[in-house]
Amino acid sequence: MITQARQPEIDKRVVIDVDRCVECQSCAAACFAGHARMPAVSFARAGWALLPLICRQCKAPACVDTCPAEAMVRDEAGIVRRRLFRCVGCGSCAQACPFGVISDSLAGTPGTIKSPGELSGHQISKCDLCADRLAADARAVPRCVAACPSGALRFVDEHQAEADGLLIIGGRSAADHLYKRR
């Protein structure tokens, strides 16, 4: 059951090893295919690199606070996600997100997302960490992580990351080779 009461946040995060991303966009394609063509992965160009933007699952999510339709919630699994039939596509969450990971134009695919006559034309898409996969198998990872061929995206427990030799930077970037060669 989903309530608006404060739920404990999920311990796991999708993080990106910035020194492994080969810009293949497999994460976006997997999200697109797995979420009825409403991808929640967008991209930002940072100098030479084109890096995927994926929801950080904030501890105090601004998208939840700002949503006028109570569509954005933290569910019982601790995942901040959008309730399909409550979203009115107002874009408040996209405006409120301080990290720009909720996009109302969605990764350069507005033609698909805003296609007239489709329900998706009136909604904002939001990463739910592929809750269907996580519910089906405890060892499963979100589609973007499973699709990443280079191992750049990882689904890690933030408390375990350091023990695994990962340096978490700013909540969503990880590195085992941070900028040593750049």
Binding site: D19, C24, S26, A33, A36, R143, A146, A147, P149
Partner: protein, 557 residues
């Protein structure tokens, strides 16, 4: 159909590149079938593999035979189509161009039909540069490395944008780098692709100078190699320093991607790369379009097939393409073909008088060589839709209509052992693309699309992100033209032009322009030379003009 030799593979795998990534098919739901990475234990699935599920049951799938009548397509029955094809061929010979990415059993079955039919010739179609590359690596005697083997190597030489050709091969390179931060990653890629961004040393070589760069590098690494005079514009010092960095390797991995339109020395490149890798205890990893290019090359001597150059020279023959988009791949324009067996509309089906439905490679199953030299037998991901013929059966149905009662004797695939290819002659010099006032056009591989896009371009994600196409420009060229990131430009040569969105690429040298390899219009801009005597089909970098196209019409197109 499968012999005892190859190992039966229980999982569904993508066959659009040699990585053979595991996938699972979901659905059919409201959105049809979809492919996605496995729940647990997968090693990634790039956009090509993710497109497969959707393509199996896509609305644009060719399901019926058609003929062109007054410029429109008219549905006809399969048997009627086969009879009409024979009638339209008249007394001309027929050349069947079959896709070399199909499983070996399909190639053998097609060959059996053509052997029994004196007026028919079979041609196995591979990307011309990749075929040459594989013939070179076969002749070199080098071992083939799988993606998993790469993590055990202690030095890497990457030629072309191998990370776009097979993103999964990057994992082994990065795993090794995580264990040893000083590992050498040398990249030779005039197109400045994604692999170039991870180079510890990038060899500055103009388009067409890859062979001279490898030769210089090999000599600096202490490997016996004939000297090749470097062309103007090649930085010999960077090649030598790269060679010195690799000299101490105990197991060198050379990862090769032979992109279209980069010149004609790929057989020599494959040979020298194989010799270099062998001398330094390693091997090569050829990242081809389609998983089965190596198998098709090894199967070649067992087929009574003619070369692509020979087939293209037979202008008087009636051409029938099966599975491959021949006209799109080679950028051929204005050539009528008799019939095309295909799963989706392509340049070849547009030019064909008759179109017959054909199954996709992943719908027929059979023997492949995946991940280095691992010979496996894959099941079909899904059976083809009702009424859609297997590729070899397309040829069989036409042959039956032509009076052939049964195919010739077929053999089991057996072991696909290394080809006894002769060492190619190494030229004394290397002719790079002339540094003209006009920019040099190269085609770059993309992780999103396979081949010339005849298949993956029909998937919805590829359609969404690939329109308009991107053109990569060096920052200096963009300044000179007066455009910035995301502006529209028109890339033009002669009568051909492509409108594309600018992506400024800081890894690209000034004077080079890179369009996607999966864009048929861009392939047509690369001059094609066919030489039946040497069996060479060579597409070279072309020169183009680029103009800003930021007018209102182009922005809203």
């Amino acid at each position: 159909m499968c012999s005892d030799t190859p190992k039966q593979e229980p999982r569904s795998r993508c066959t659009l590149c040699p990585a053979g990534c595991e996938l699972r098919i979901g659905g059919p739901g409201a959105g049809g079938y979809q492919s996605e990475p496995p729940m647990v234990g997968g090693a990634g699935l790039c956009p090509r593999g993710l497109a497969i599920g959707e393509l199996l049951d896509a609305p644009g799938r060719i399901r019926w035979a058609t003929r062109r009548l007054d410029g429109r397509r008219q549905e006809i029955g399969l048997a009627e189509a086969a009879r009409a094809i024979i009638a339209a061929a008249g007394d001309r010979d027929l050349v069947f161009f079959i896709d070399g990415a199909l499983p070996c059993e399909q190639l053998l079955a097609a060959d059996a039909w053509c052997r029994a039919w004196p007026r028919a010739k079979l041609c196995v179609v591979l990307e011309p540069a990749e075929r040459e590359l594989l013939l070179g690596t076969e002749a070199s005697g080098a071992a083939y490395l799988s993606d998993a083997d790469l993590a055990g190597c202690d030095g890497f030489l990457i030629v072309g944008d191998a990370f776009a050709a097979n993103p999964a091969c990057s994992r082994g390179v990065f795993d090794r780098r995580a264990a040893d931060a000083r590992v050498a990653i040398i990249v030779i890629d005039p197109g400045g692709g994604s692999a170039a961004k991870f180079a510890t040393c990038r060899v500055a070589a103009p388009p067409g100078a890859e062979l001279a760069a490898i030769a210089e590098l090999a000599r600096a690494a202490g490997v016996d190699c004939p000297p090749i005079a470097p062309p103007d514009g090649m930085d010999v010092r960077s090649a030598r320093s790269a060679g010195l960095a690799l000299a101490g390797c105990k197991r060198l991995a050379i990862i090769l991607a032979a992109e279209y339109g980069r010149g004609g020395a790929w057989r020599q490149i494959g040979y020298l790369a194989g010799r270099l890798a062998g001398a330094l205890g390693g091997g090569v990893a050829c990242q081809t379009t389609g998983a089965n290019a190596l198998a098709a090359v090894r199967l070649g001597p067992r087929l009574a097939a003619i070369s692509l150059a020979d087939a293209l020279a037979r202008q008087g023959a009636a051409w029938v393409t099966v599975g491959s988009d021949l006209l799109g791949m080679l950028g051929i324009r204005g050539r009528e073909i008799l019939a095309a067996g295909a799963a989706f509309a392509s340049r070849s089906t547009e030019a064909a008088e008759f179109v017959m439905p054909a199954a996709l490679a992943m719908e027929v199953g059979g023997t492949h060589i995946l991940g280095g030299e691992r010979q496996v037998c894959l099941d079909a991901v899904l059976p083809p839709p009702a009424g859609v013929l297997e590729p070899a059966d397309v040829i069989g149905s036409i042959a039956r209509a032509g009076g052939v009662e049964a195919p010739g004797p077929t053999t089991a695939v057996g072991t696909l052992s290394r080809l006894a290819a002769a060492a190619p002659s190494i030229p004394a010099g290397c002719a790079a693309a002339a540094a003209a006032a006009s920019p040099v056009l190269m085609l770059g591989r993309q992780a999103a699309d396979a081949g010339c896009g005849e298949l993956t371009a029909h998937a919805s994600w590829q359609s969404a992100v690939g329109s308009p196409p991107s053109v990569r420009l060096a920052a200096a060229d963009a300044r000179r033209i007066g455009v910035k990131d995301l502006d529209m430009v028109e890339v033009r040569t002669g009568e051909l032009s492509v409108r594309a969105r600018v992506r400024i690429d800081h890894a690209l040298d000034a004077g080079a322009v890179v369009l996607p390899e999966a864009l048929c219009e861009a392939r047509a801009m690369c001059p094609l030379q066919v030489s039946p005597a040497t069996e060479a089909v060579v597409a070279s970098p072309g020169t183009v003009n680029i103009e800003a196209a930021n007018d209102y019409a182009s922005q809203t197109a």
